[in-house]
Symmetry: C2
Subunit: 199 residues, 2 copies
């Protein structure tokens, strides 16, 4: 009953991947709303219950990879060089993420997402979960010492930057505009127990 040695995990991962690939293919071919779960399961040659044991919802099939998003941002905070300023580190990561999802190759997927209210709504909530994870990472950073409120606010601002930039005509220009705003917002926060705080 220790960790399984391999084949089982590989088969599971293969099944998961086959489901995700099949789903994305069908969704892109015929539209997200026009393809039912039963159809995806049949085409991937698995039972509906199996599909739902790998993915929590139909929308999750589309955002299969997006734990990567939150992890990248958290890592940008936790693994930045000592004394490296926070906001530029976050900016670099957001720029990379925006470039990644505005690449030509990804365009059909994002067109599909934009066309489906269910997917848009799912992404909204997902991003907010990501913001919470980022806020936790900020709150845990011993070099920052900001209040919970400041951390949660900055985390949301950063997620906002991603979303607004992604939808802008020129994402890079948008980030050039948004990050000075974030920088200024962060600059007016003070470490807890700083001179201005008599506590």
């Amino acid at each position: 009953m220790t960790v399984p040695t391999g084949r089982r995990e590989r088969k599971k991962a293969a099944t998961r991947q086959k489901i995700a690939d099949t789903a994305l293919r069908l969704f892109l071919e015929r539209g997200y709303d026009a393809v039912g779960i039963r159809e995806v399961a049949a085409e991937a040659d698995v039972a509906v219950t199996t599909l739902f044991s790998h993915f929590a919802s139909k929308e999750a099939l589309v955002f299969e990879q997006d734990q990567h998003f939150a992890r990248s941002l958290v890592r940008a905070v936790t693994e930045r060089a000592p004394h490296e300023p926070l906001v530029p580190a976050l900016r670099r990561e957001i720029e990379a993420l925006v470039r990644h999802c505005t690449a030509d190759e990804a365009a059909p997927v994002w067109r599909m997402i934009d066309a489906s209210p269910a997917l848009r709504s799912y992404e909204d909530s997902m991003r907010l979960r990501h913001a919470e994870l980022l806020a936790d990472a900020l709150a845990a950073d011993p070099g920052l010492s900001r209040t919970t409120t400041a951390c949660r606010t900055l985390a949301r601002f950063v997620i906002d930057a991603y979303t607004v930039a992604r939808e802008a005509a020129d994402p890079q220009a948008a980030l050039d505009e948004i990050f000075p705003m974030i920088e200024a917002a962060w600059a007016v926060t003070r470490p807890t127990g700083s001179p201005a705080d008599p506590a």
Copy 2:
């Protein structure tokens, strides 16, 4: 065939209100997830299809009134005194909205919302729609002349302030912390065609 004179509209509004009141009562009595749509309809003495002709979804029954939210924020922008600075006007409105929803009377409703992932998710998307409306109002204000990106970013920041403050232990203190950040962020934006912009 001109505009209906009244009775029809009144009856329709009465039906809508009865459905909303019944739904909220049942949800609070027995929990949002434990009460089905068919049950709400039966208790309100209407057909299920009638219920859905008044409300787009089960969640919408709970947030029945929240067009008020977006309208208040938009009005705070459009109807502020000439040359009155923007951010303080928005702050006053957000403070009022936060006080309103953290009032003791509203507590059971918010506890119910917090307990249901479906409702939380619905609210997330709703607030983002509100942010878009606010962004449109900002973009339309002739006294501001900021880029679309700056308007959308500020709108999201303001919505973030509402959400973070509402969930904070001390909402008023949270706003005291967040709005200086927003103020600073807005201060670094420049009207289009300002001195620094050679265009």
